[in-house]
C-alpha cells in the first residue's frame, strides 16, 4: 500500500495527538481546585469573619495545585510551537 504521508507529516500529526494527550493533565488540578474551593466555601460559611484569610489561603493552595496542569500545558505548547522532535529529525 502506497501512503502519501511524509516523515515530517507523521511527526507533526503525532505531536498534535501528544499535545492533546498532554492536556489531560488539566483534569487533576481541576478536581483539586474544586475540592479546595468547596472547603473554602464551607469554612467561610462556618466562620464568615475569617473570609479574607480563608480566601487568600484557598487561592494560594489552588495556584500551587495548578502547577501540574501547567506542566502539561507547557509541554503541549512546546509540541506545537517549538517542536523538539521535528528539530531532531531535520538535523539527522
Amino acid at each position: 500500500m502506497n501512503s502519501n504521508i511524509t516523515n515530517e507529516g507523521l511527526i507533526l500529526a503525532c505531536s498534535a495527538i501528544g499535545a492533546g494527550i498532554a492536556m489531560i493533565a488539566g483534569v487533576g488540578p481541576g478536581i483539586g481546585q474544586g475540592i479546595a474551593a468547596g472547603y473554602g466555601a464551607s469554612a467561610v460559611g462556618r466562620n464568615p469573619g475569617a473570609k479574607g484569610d480563608v480566601t487568600s489561603t484557598m487561592l494560594l493552595g489552588q495556584a500551587v495545585a495548578e502547577t501540574t496542569g501547567l506542566y502539561g500545558l507547557v509541554i503541549a505548547l512546546l509540541l506545537f510551537y517549538a517542536n523538539p522532535l521535528l528539530n531532531r529529525f531535520l538535523k539527522l
Binding site: 511524509t6 494560594l60 502547577t67 505548547l77 510551537y81
Partner: protein, 253 residues
Amino acid sequence: MVNVAANAPLLLSGVGGMRAVLSGDGVDFFIHELVPYNFFGHTVYLTTTHVCELIVIVGIIIFALVARHSIMHAKTVPTGMQNVVELLVETLEKYVRSAMGTHTKPSYVNYIGTIILLIFLCNISGIIGLRAPTADYGTTLCLAIFSVSMIQYNNIKHNKIAAFTSLFKPIPLLFPINLIGEFATVVSLSLRLFGNVMAGTVMIALYYGMLPIFAKIGIPAFLHAYLDVFSGAIQAYVFTMLTMVFITDKLEG
C-alpha cells in the same frame, strides 16, 4: 502529496522560543525578533519581550519619580499622590508582615515590593496592547533564579553548616532527592508564572485572531479582566507569597 518539508523550518525555534506558524491567520502571540546582534559568536535578538519590559520599567520609573517628589514635599496632612504612595507602602509592608511574621525586615519588604510590582505590571500590560513580558520563559526563569538565590542566601546565612547537613536528613540515602527538591523550586516558580500568563496570552490572541469583527467589540473586556488583571494579580501574589513562605521556612528550620 502535501509538501510539509517546505513549511518545516518555520517550526524551528530560536533562542527566544516560538516562531510564527500561524502567521497567515492573524493569530499572533509569538515573540518577534526585532534587532539582531552578535553575542560572542551567536546571533541573538532584541525581542518584543525586551521592548515591552522596558516600557513597563519606564512606567515604574516615572511613577517612582513622581512618588519621590511627593514624599520629598510631604505634608503633615497627606493629600493626593502622597496618600497613594503611603497606602501602597503600608499595604506592602502589611502583606510581608502577614506572611513572615517576626522575621520581617525592611530589606524583605523592599525585595518583595519590587518584585510584586514588576510582575503585576508585566502581567497586566496586555490590556494596553503589549505582549506580556512574563509570557517569555526567559523573564520568569530570571525572576525565579533571583528568588531562589534569596532563599538559599538566607538558608546559608541563618543555618550555617546545617544548611548542607539538612540535605542528608532523615537518612543519607535521600540526599539526591533533597538536592533535586531544592532546585525544583526554580522550575516550579518559573513555570507556574510562565504557564499562567502564556495561557492568557494565547487565549486572548486566539479570540482576537479567529473571530469576526463584531465579536471583538466590548466582549474582550471581560476576557482581559479575567485573564490579564485577575489571573495576573493572583500570580503576582502567589509568586511573592511562595518566596516568603520558603524564606520563612528556611529561617525557622
